[in-house]
Symmetry: C2
Subunit: 478 residues, 2 copies
């Protein structure tokens, strides 16, 4: 045991939260509904390594042999999830340190968020964590969900709470409940997640630590964050600076207004800080800001699946004129361009499209279009040097587009893959049958789908903004 506990370096030792060799649940409960029961249940139904319930009053929990304290747990063990009352958390965490555990996830509430006494308890806890050279997520959090490594260390009832499949988006949330509701939405929508971390009080591990891990994580292609306040601005800023050149980051910052900041202070005790400071940091570091929980994942999905465009010129291919107009309006409103196509390209399009099609841009292939018409228009725009990105609006609900379209689209995409520097995004208006096709297209061709023209264009705008930042950043380096 060291006498002068030191905080580990940024990102040091956080790997254990995502790839543990063995996990103990301290406070494992036999009572359904209890946090210490549910987290064990979720681990048992996800994690393939050894799981050790710790409970001094039980021989076994959920069919797993239980241990009176973590000190008795056999190897391998490097992660402990803690679900005991706040006042005994420091003691069990000390035992975990004694036992050689490298990381603790403290789900228990009753720390800094409850006032002075809780803050004192939290300080004691952090001291213990550092004395043993451990890392800690929490306290007052809902845990870690890491489908990329088949680990569900959260305490939500899977009967009510959906958990998304493995996928490319990492998601950090200062608010556990908000994080859970977004995961639940993503599960229904079918958007995959690599890692989810509920940061809680951030007494030790914070955004900077997790970002350090995620920027090297091969399972993560984009990073979405919900934050209320950041205590160490320079640490946070440096972490962003080191992340965004490698991977795109989108942030939902709550407390942008005075009323919001007041609410944030009462929620997590965060000093939200002036939003203009955050805005400046986001702008300088190439972070995409957003104001809505829905848009957070809209943008994270585009950033995960598609490359940034090389410029602002958008080609729109639609089966319905009205949607083309709405997409063009939104693009121009956001500073993108919808250039009229050259006479030459329009002539090429006319040769491949129905006679009533409109070819200026938006290219309206009309509702009478077949798969081949739509694919021809997309391929011609993908190959041309007149647009930098493509929005497609396929009207799956009414159009004569076949069920084979997603497969054919995938073939086209892979055909032009050599030149593939143009992002393609889809606006899929319509109901559930249209969305079955949209999801098939997303899966087979990585073309993200959005339920309105405006949301598809906003996601494209985010890609554009990230691309512009990357160009400036690389220019600045060179």
């Amino acid at each position: 045991m060291c006498t002068v506990p030191e905080r580990p370096g940024v990102g040091e030792g956080v790997e254990v939260f995502f790839n543990p060799k063995g996990v103990a649940v301290i406070g494992a409960s036999r009572e359904p509904g209890k946090v210490g029961h549910m987290v064990l249940y979720n681990l048992k139904h996800s994690f393939t390594g050894p799981i050790y319930p710790v409970n001094p009053r039980a021989k076994e929990v959920l069919g797993l042999p239980a241990y009176p304290t973590v000190l008795e747990v056999p190897d391998p063990l490097d992660l402990a999830v803690v679900a005991v009352p706040a006042r005994i958390v420091p003691r069990v965490v000390e035992e975990a340190g004694e036992r050689g555990v490298r990381g603790v996830i403290v789900l228990s509430a009753g720390f800094r968020e409850t006032g002075r006494e809780g803050a004192r308890l939290e300080e004691e806890l952090v001291k213990t964590v550092y004395e043993y050279g451990m890392r800690m997520i929490g306290p007052n959090c809902i845990g870690v969900y890491s489908p990329a490594s088949s680990l569900n260390a959260t305490f939500f009832d899977p009967e009510r709470q959906g958990f998304p499949p493995p996928g490319p988006i990492a998601f950090l949330s200062q608010s556990g409940a908000l994080g859970a509701s977004i995961l639940d939405w993503a599960a229904t929508r079918g958007i995959g997640v690599s890692r989810f971390v509920s940061l809680g009080n951030k007494a030790d591990v914070d955004e900077a630590d997790i970002l350090a891990f995620l920027r090297r994580d091969p399972h993560t292609r984009s990073i979405a964050m919900y934050i209320e306040g950041v205590a160490e601005g320079r640490r946070f800023r440096r972490a962003l600076e080191e992340t965004t050149p490698l991977k795109p980051v989108v942030v939902l910052k709550a407390g942008r207004t005075e009323a919001g900041a007041r609410a944030a202070a009462s929620h997590t005790g965060s000093l939200a800080g002036s939003y203009s400071i955050y805005e400046a940091v986001f702008k300088q570091t190439g972070v995409i800001p957003t104001g809505s929980s829905e848009e957070l994942f809209d943008i994270a999905l585009a950033l995960a699946l598609q490359p940034p465009p090389k410029g602002p010129r958008v080609g729109i291919v639609t089966l319905g004129g009205g949607s083309g107009v709405l997409a063009a309006d939104e693009a121009v409103s956001l500073g993108l361009k919808v250039p009229r196509l050259s006479a030459q390209l329009q002539a090429k399009l006319r040769r491949r499209l129905p006679p009533i099609a409109s070819t200026q841009n938006p290219v309206d292939v009309t509702a009478s279009a077949t798969d081949e018409h739509l694919l021809s228009a997309i391929a011609l725009l993908a190959e041309s040097d007149e647009v930098d990105s493509i929005i497609i609006i396929p009207y799956f609900n009414i159009a004569t587009i076949s069920d084979e379209f997603p497969r054919k689209m995938a073939a086209i995409i892979s055909h032009v893959a050599g030149k593939k520097t143009k992002p393609i995004l889809a606006a899929v208006t319509g109901g559930e049958k249209a969305w079955d096709k949209a999801r098939a297209m997303e899966e087979e061709s990585s073309i993200p789908a959005y339920p309105s023209e405006a949301r598809a264009v906003k996601a494209l705008w985010a890609l554009y903004r990230y691309g512009e930042w990357l160009r400036r950043h690389r220019g600045g380096e060179g």
Copy 2:
């Protein structure tokens, strides 16, 4: 037959499109997939009055006796749906006039939207319609869907295209395809529609005519419109002036930008006009403008189900702190207020809520809240004079809120119904199970639900804006 055909007065004779006594389908086809087949199919599966296929080469179509021309169709007959090639439309419409038909819905395309020759044909058609004192919807439209009177006179395949249940929203669309895709979405989402009209080329019946009908239609509580361009500005403006004092109107105007306007011109031949002129008209007449197809129905739903608030003060009741912060941010950003509650009201709340609840506003009842905690907070805000509207964020995915909540909520709502002048809207983050409860709450208590804090607050903003306009308008009158 008159020698000088005159255009009927605004709204005159349009009732027949929604409540016909008998409907002929001119161009009824035996070939599945054809427009003249599908519209007959949809009529047969909706309309309870007599339906007459007209087809000179068939004895019967879809099991209904067919007539060689509309002239042979027996009584009662007052509406004809036309699905024959453009060049013979004027002749069959003349026959319909001869036969005493009062309204024709012309689905056929090939008129003004195709160029000069089509425009000439359209003029001829309108002349015939007026000569017989008829009204016409179209040409180049997808028809009328009026669940309030059990009439589906559109040609979309119900195997692919969803049709929403009867409900309070009327929807006019200049674009048929866009209209269909919104209907399809509404069917999946479970939002009800009173009347849907695809206006097509608006050669006779236009927005003004339909508004005149809708403002007196007992089935319609709010009106959503998609428009690209309006040929007769004064007529349109007067129709809005006469409608908005009675019923709220929300408009999605496409072609707000130059690129959008160019696309609109190529789509429906509309001169989109300067958007600033539309903006001024919308502001003066109390119309709520929107830029997205999703928001169009978000707002129409709030306008249909909830009263406008008496002022800008929003009370937020949430089970998750983060969502409360986001809702407060959005409200303040849109010019609403989130006032700190009085010490007295906070004391009342504290007596009824869990000890860790936050009572300032947002009222965070926390994820440990029961049905009764949440209902107490809502009731106290509903009864207080400190807020004018309420946003609730119930976290159905994780909370201990029971399946009985929607029913209990309905009881609370009816209890405070005497004083009910405060709109209540819900943000239901989360996935499909959470949404089952949201829909139950919407059905039992008419509380509209939105998938994000931002969308719920934006819909409340629209109610507020409409209420402000009504107050100014009535003040101006008095």
